[in-house]
């Protein structure tokens, strides 16, 4: 443990030194995303699924759609639930047990982006008002964690949702074989994350970069609009930096949308 932390400190020092020359440890430019890969349909038992790889970070998301009862205050609406697990097998530093605050934040930020962008038309997921609805569960697991889990998780969730098939409700049973109809979705949301210090802003940080520079801002974009924001970390951003990040997010969002096809 102590040894690892010492190594971390040395690396962090190098990151800071390189940054003075506008350079990053892995040779990327400050505003350069790592390679993004999206594979869908990876788990046929799920109604929708995707593995997203950003550099060495890899996450898997799956969609299960099941019967449920609506919440009392929204009797004519389906339900969307988003969970995330930062698995102990995806990084030496993650632990088993109940979700950490970081995993809860990850799930909630992805959830808000999808929800606020109105990706899923929850009104269309009603079987019987007040009694029977479809519940859409999106679960995200980290497979190999190397930074920027927010953007990877959002992409994976979005890819899984937009390829998900609706089960059929017939004679009190749920049928999940040979499904054809898509889950009704509206458009696509993607998020872009920056970290920074002293005016230097880095897009799509690796895990060690996240440790070095701890002000973070994640911007969810849909159709050129901002649909979610989440600042994290112990540092701050100037007004100008916030604006620069918004512009950067708008730019990167286009490329990320392409990766979703």
């Amino acid at each position: 443990m102590r040894l690892i932390k010492m190594i971390d400190k040395i690396t962090i020092k190098r990151i800071e030194d390189l940054l003075k020359d506008g350079k990053r440890l892995d040779g990327r430019k400050l505003d350069e995303f790592r390679e993004v890969k999206v594979e869908t349909g990876v788990v046929t038992k799920a109604e929708g699924s995707a593995i997203v790889t950003i550099g060495k970070s890899r996450v898997i998301a799956g969609v299960k759609i099941g019967l449920g009862k609506p919440f009392p205050d929204t009797p004519a609406s389906g339900v969307l639930m988003t969970g995330a697990e930062m698995t102990a097998w995806s990084n030496n530093e993650f632990e088993t047990g109940p979700p950490s605050p970081a995993a809860i934040e990850l799930a909630r930020v992805v959830d808000r982006a999808i929800r606020e962008a109105k990706i899923i038309d929850l009104d269309k997921l009603v079987i019987e008002v007040g009694e029977k609805i479809w519940m859409v569960f999106v679960d995200i697991y980290t497979m190999n964690a190397d930074g920027n889990l927010f953007d990877a998780a959002a992409l994976a969730a979005m890819a899984a949702l937009s390829t998900a098939k609706m089960p059929i409700y017939k004679d009190d049973e749920v049928i999940r074989d040979n499904l054809k109809t898509n889950l009704p979705t509206n458009g696509k949301v993607v998020s872009t994350t920056y970290i920074g210090i002293d005016g230097k802003l880095l897009v799509d940080p690796t895990m060690i970069e996240e440790k070095a520079l701890n002000a973070r801002l994640t911007v969810g974009i849909k159709d050129g609009n901002i649909v979610s924001l989440q600042k994290g970390g112990k540092g701050g951003f100037t007004d100008e930096e916030v604006e620069t990040i918004l512009d950067g997010a708008l730019k990167h969002s286009k490329k990320l949308l392409k990766a979703l096809k």
Binding site: P101, V227, L229, Q230, K234, T238, L246
Partner: protein, 243 residues
């Protein structure tokens, strides 16, 4: 349950009579929890939040101890009866997330290196909720830290802003959202700065706005933030040196 209102603003007036750039009445009291090392109650209209600070004190469990600085730990929670429908006691996912961003925002100003190995515990409790509770709580926490005499680079100050619609559905940016605006408006943004260096230390948004709308709302919020900051300094008069 309740039905969506036809408008949140009409003729320039919001549902509670405020204009777009108006904030609610702000009340600040310090020293409200005698046992705490520092404390404050901040009210933004009907939203009432108490913050209490204990520390610097010994940190348990030991494996969280940092040899070169103090840990700032925040715990945000709501009284079960602070909201319309009873909240189950104990923190849920929402509370855990808010605690996290609150601790991070406060960590940006506390001079943690002055207290190696210690913990500074900040407890934020919503007594009554009428939206903007996390920001009201963050302001209360900031004052409670100062009230406790914890050395800080500056105060953290926050306000919310959002986007609300008129009877034609047209959207407007508005400052310090309250419950119906939070519930039915098109966007809800929690926003806080460290006032020594004017940096954004908390920013969370749900909704749908253009970049221009966002920047406009932020500018409006900056004015409310300045007022809030002055009120906070006034409340701390004599207790804490600022500027």
């Amino acid at each position: 349950m309740e039905t969506k209102p036809d408008y949140l603003i009409k003729g320039g007036k919001r549902l509670d009579g405020r204009k777009l750039a108006d904030w609610r009445e702000i009340s600040i009291k310090t020293g409200v929890i005698e046992n705490a090392d520092g404390s404050a109650q901040v009210d933004f209209g009907k939203t009432k939040v108490i913050a209490a600070v204990y520390g610097p004190r010994e940190l348990h469990p030991r494996h969280l101890v940092m040899s070169d600085r103090a840990l700032v730990r925040a715990k945000y929670d709501m009284l079960s009866f602070s909201v319309e429908d009873r909240k189950r006691p104990g923190p849920g996912r929402r509370e855990h997330e808010i605690s996290k961003v609150t601790a991070e925002a406060l960590s940006s100003v506390v001079l943690t290196e002055k207290f190696p190995r210690a913990v500074i515990d900040v407890f934020v409790t919503v007594i009554q909720a009428d939206a903007s509770t996390r920001i009201t709580g963050l302001n209360a926490a900031s004052i409670a830290l100062a009230d406790a005499g914890i050395p800080m680079k500056g105060l953290v100050v926050g306000v919310t802003f959002g986007k609300i619609y008129d009877e034609k559905g047209k959207g407007y940016m508005a400052v310090d959202v309250f419950k119906p605006e939070d519930q039915w408006g098109q966007a809800d943004i929690a926003y806080a700065k460290s006032y020594n260096d004017n940096k954004v230390v908390l920013l969370q948004m749900d909704g749908d706005v253009t970049k221009e709308e966002f920047l406009k709302g932020k500018e409006m919020a900056d004015k409310a933030m300045e007022y809030t900051y002055k009120e906070m300094v006034k409340a701390l008069k004599g207790k804490y040196e600022v500027d």
